[in-house]
């Protein structure tokens, strides 16, 4: 859609800043997410440089601690959350045939809360003081365990930055979740019953529900911590007799569902991409819905598996181990259903599919090492080691990030009207894949050898040198992949092939409108009869609704 009259830059800027359009907000969320992804990646690269050899002194301990804190906080709150909320914002209304979200202005408000919360967090590099009073950024870890965060042990203002920045951006996420739930429940087009929604919408619905339960908990304990630090309350102040373990219970009551908040959208992307590139309908849609809802419920009852080393009683340990094992069942159903979707298909290996299959393969490994960590006595050995770092990067990098790239390559043509370059995309995939395995595979073994997490250096001659060197080399390989990704976006925006409305021959509603979609999405509100309205359109003799 080229503009006919010339709009000055300030006018365009004004348009974007004041927009309440779900698509523009979605794009801004995702651009912010990519921006912080690159920053968090640089932090990780610096950490891998420091850890390449024992007793290295590239980074001072305070800087390293700030970097791992900021890397984790950034990846979760400023990369995972905005990209998933952005994708939900952009595609949920399109997929359910709506013209916008239910509350467009609340939507914009949520985005700007996130935007300024994120800025505030990074402003701490200039304005904050950490544990030692010298460094800027928060350095208590993204989990901010009491009592290390108390005024005594963290006298600077960095922890306050962490609290307020995440509180503000978290409020934005809560509002967007309210918006998503309302939109999905009330604004579906004619004919789209709950069980005829694209699976994407189901997963985003459960995701938004989890956000509504989990994030207020975080907001509450952040305020409690702020009261502790600024006004001498004693919620978590061990020196005043408080039990610091209560922070861990409350934090992980948010923190564990947060993991599923991040991974459910990844499931959503994969569940859309896999069928299209296998040329088959998603296998077992009802079971996928059941699995998603069960994951949502079970995710709320497993938090103490992050706390197996805190001295819980055997009965409590057994319960949380059991609940954690149980969550493997619905997760397994999904993996098997995706593989069954591939089974008997005609699989096209374009970049979105490469990332989708990479996701299934790597996420399975991350899930299985998660089962190992749920075996309590093994967790006593492996908790807080590099094994855990390896495990959750298989889930969140090989899982979430690969799914994000899959979705990015899949929907970029819809959003921009241009196809991403396939050759660069394939290079990016293979560099990231090899770099990823090289970085995070060896971490499992350094964990076995006794390397704890969050250490700025390690001792020589304890069997850790080789694993750490491999990880650092892998990080370098990944860096090239990320550079290619950014290059591909710019290159394809300028010179990319026009996408057309439906470049992948896909089946959900968003592919029936133009690329990019007009502000009103659909000139005429669609009416659907099945989960794959475009399949029905393309195969009038054999429509889906006959089988659903």
């Amino acid at each position: 859609m080229t503009t006919k009259q010339h709009i000055p830059l300030s006018g365009k800027l004004h348009e974007w800043i004041t927009t309440v359009d779900h698509k523009k907000l979605g794009i801004m969320y995702i651009l912010c997410g990519i921006f912080y992804l690159l920053i968090a990646g640089c932090e990780a690269l610096m950490m891998r440089w420091q850890l390449a050899i024992p007793n290295n002194d590239i980074l001072a301990p305070e800087t390293f601690n700030a970097f791992f804190t900021m890397h984790g906080t950034t990846m979760i709150f400023l990369v995972g959350m905005p990209i998933l909320l952005g994708a939900a914002n952009y595609f949920v209304p399109l997929m359910i045939g709506a013209r916008d979200m239910a509350f467009p202005r609340l939507n914009a408000f949520g985005f700007w809360l996130f935007f300024f919360g994120a800025l505030l967090l990074y402003f701490s590099f200039l304005g904050g003081q950490g544990l030692t009073g010298e460094e800027g950024a928060p350095d208590n870890g993204w989990f901010a365990y009491a009592p290390l965060t108390s005024k005594t042990f963290s006298p600077g203002s960095a922890t306050d930055y962490w609290i307020i920045a995440l509180f503000v951006s978290g409020m934005g996420s809560i509002m967007t979740a309210i918006n998503l739930v309302t939109t999905i429940l009330t604004m579906r087009c004619k004919g789209m019953t709950m069980m005829k929604m694209p699976i994407f919408a189901w997963m985003m619905l459960v995701d938004a529900g989890l956000i509504l339960i989990a994030l207020p908990t975080l907001a509450a304990i952040q305020i409690m911590l702020l009261l502790d630090r600024q006004y001498g309350a004693h919620f978590f102040d061990a020196q005043a007799g408080a039990d610091p373990v209560i922070w861990q219970h409350l934090f992980w009551f948010f923190g564990h569902p947060e993991v599923y908040i991040l991974i459910l959208p990844a499931f959503a992307f994969i569940s859309e991409v896999t069928p299209v590139f296998s040329r088959k309908v998603l296998f077992g849609y009802p079971l996928m819905v059941v699995a998603t809802v069960s994951i949502g419920f079970i995710a709320l009852g497993v938090w103490a598996h992050h706390m197996f080393t805190t001295g819980l009683s055997p009965a409590v340990l057994s319960y949380f181990a059991g609940a954690t094992f149980l969550i493997g069942v619905p997760t397994g159903m999904k993996i098997f259903n995706w593989i069954a979707t591939l089974w008997g298909g005609q699989i096209r290996y374009e970049t979105p599919m490469l990332f989708a299959i990479g996701f299934i393969a790597m996420f399975t490994i991350g899930g299985l090492t998660g089962i190992m960590l749920a075996v309590v006595p093994m967790d006593w050995q492996l908790s807080d080691t590099y094994f855990v770092v390896g495990h959750f990067h298989f889930v969140l990098f090989g899982g979430l990030l690969f799914a994000i790239f899959s979705g990015f390559y899949y929907w970029f043509p819809k959003v921009t009207g241009k196809l991403l370059n396939e050759t660069i995309g394939k290079w990016q995939f293979w560099l990231l894949f090899v770099g990823f395995v090289l970085t995070f595979g060896p971490m499992h073994f350094s964990g076995f050898e006794g390397m704890p997490r969050r250490i700025y250096t390690f001792m020589p001659n304890r069997g850790l040198e080789m694993y750490n060197m491999l990880s650092s080399i892998g990080a370098g390989v990944q860096a090239i992949g990320f550079v290619l990704f950014v290059y591909n976006i710019i290159h394809s925006l300028l010179k990319g092939k026009p996408a057309g409305d439906d470049p992948w021959d896909a089946w959900t509603l968003e592919w029936s409108t133009t690329s990019p979609p007009p502000p009103w999405n659909y000139a005429k509100t669609p009416v659907v009869a099945s989960r794959r309205p475009l399949w029905d359109l393309k195969h009038p003799g054999d429509p889906d609704w006959e089988y659903e």
Binding site: G241, R279, K280, T310, G332, Y349, D384
Partner: protein
């Protein structure tokens, strides 16, 4: 962790092998099915029609719901059995009791029954269970020596326990496993397991007050005249500290600064000159000592056998 020398870590290793076997089978089946379908069902590029659309299959989906539930049930039973059999809160019979207190960033070990206080290095007799009472002086720490036992946290206002039994003579490395601030990385642990005779003579020596050697008296006076005594205790000399490691038998330790450096006169001097040069951000202040004071102090400290 995979090469245990203690019954606790052996039990965990055996459990690991079992779980790894189960996980390994699931891994091979799942990834195998994935790779098989990737190759077998790749597009030839010349298809004219879409493949058969299969919407689902109740028996198949039931199978991959029920089978995982059964696997999970087995894992749950095995886990629970091991949790109860390794009850960490109960001292084993005839155990040596040690109180381990986490400080930013060093471990203090107290043998209350034997009247010994030391730091960083835990001496234990071979083949005797050791029951460790874990406490924290400040923030949360975690005591972990992989080849002896799993980790358990040391939490302020709480008392946790673990036990292990070193079945071989040797030095077993470990370190704090819960992020506890700037120098979390150099909060190291050495467990030194010895034959009973060696352990008994170590105990006998540790129970003595600090030795007095006439040549080192000026060094001792320097020590007493400085702020060292506000944090460091030396039995028989001055007991008003406790915030920092007890120095009564400093020379009986292999390392200083919680394992960050070998215990040599050169390193002691370096440490006194600027503790940050060995452990950046540690809580021991740079006392701005003159070289003369450093020589006197190290002269005294090296007599503390």
């Amino acid at each position: 962790m995979l090469d245990p020398v203690s019954p606790v870590s052996t039990t965990i290793r055996d459990l690991f092998m079992l779980v790894f076997g189960v996980i390994g089978i699931i891994f091979v089946v799942t990834e195998g099915a994935l790779v098989w379908s990737m190759i077998r069902f790749r597009s030839k590029g010349n298809e004219t029609t879409e493949p058969p659309q299969i919407y689902g299959s109740n028996p198949i989906e039931l199978a991959w719901t029920v089978i995982p539930i059964l696997i999970v049930l087995v894992l749950f039973l095995v886990t629970t059995r091991t949790i109860y059999s390794l009850d960490l809160q109960e001292p084993p019979e005839g155990a040596l009791r040690v109180k381990a207190t986490g400080h930013q960033w060093w471990w203090e070990f107290e043998y209350e029954d034997l009247g010994i206080t030391t730091a960083g290095e835990l001496h234990v007799p071979k083949g005797v269970p050791v029951f460790v009472e874990l406490r924290s002086f400040d923030v949360i720490h975690s005591f972990w020596v992989p080849r002896l036992a799993g980790k358990i946290d040391a939490i302020p206002n709480r008392e946790n326990h673990l036990w292990f039994q070193a079945d071989k003579v040797g030095t077993w490395y470990g370190q704090c496993a819960e992020f506890c601030g700037t120098q979390h990385a150099k909060m190291l642990i050495r467990v030194i397991s010895e034959d009973e005779d060696d352990f008994d003579s170590w105990v006998a020596n540790q129970q003595l007050d600090a030795v007095e050697i006439p040549e080192a008296l000026s060094g001792k006076d320097t020590f007493l005249s400085l702020a060292c005594v506000n944090c460091h205790n030396i039995d028989g000399v001055m007991l008003q500290g406790g915030f920092a490691p007890n120095l009564t038998h400093l020379m009986s330790r292999e390392t200083i600064a919680s394992g960050a450096a070998e215990n040599t006169p050169e390193n002691l001097k370096k440490w006194l000159r600027d503790p940050n040069s060995i452990k950046d951000g540690c809580l021991m202040p740079n006392m701005m000592l003159s070289e003369e004071q450093i020589d006197l102090l190290v002269g005294y400290l090296t007599t503390l056998k």
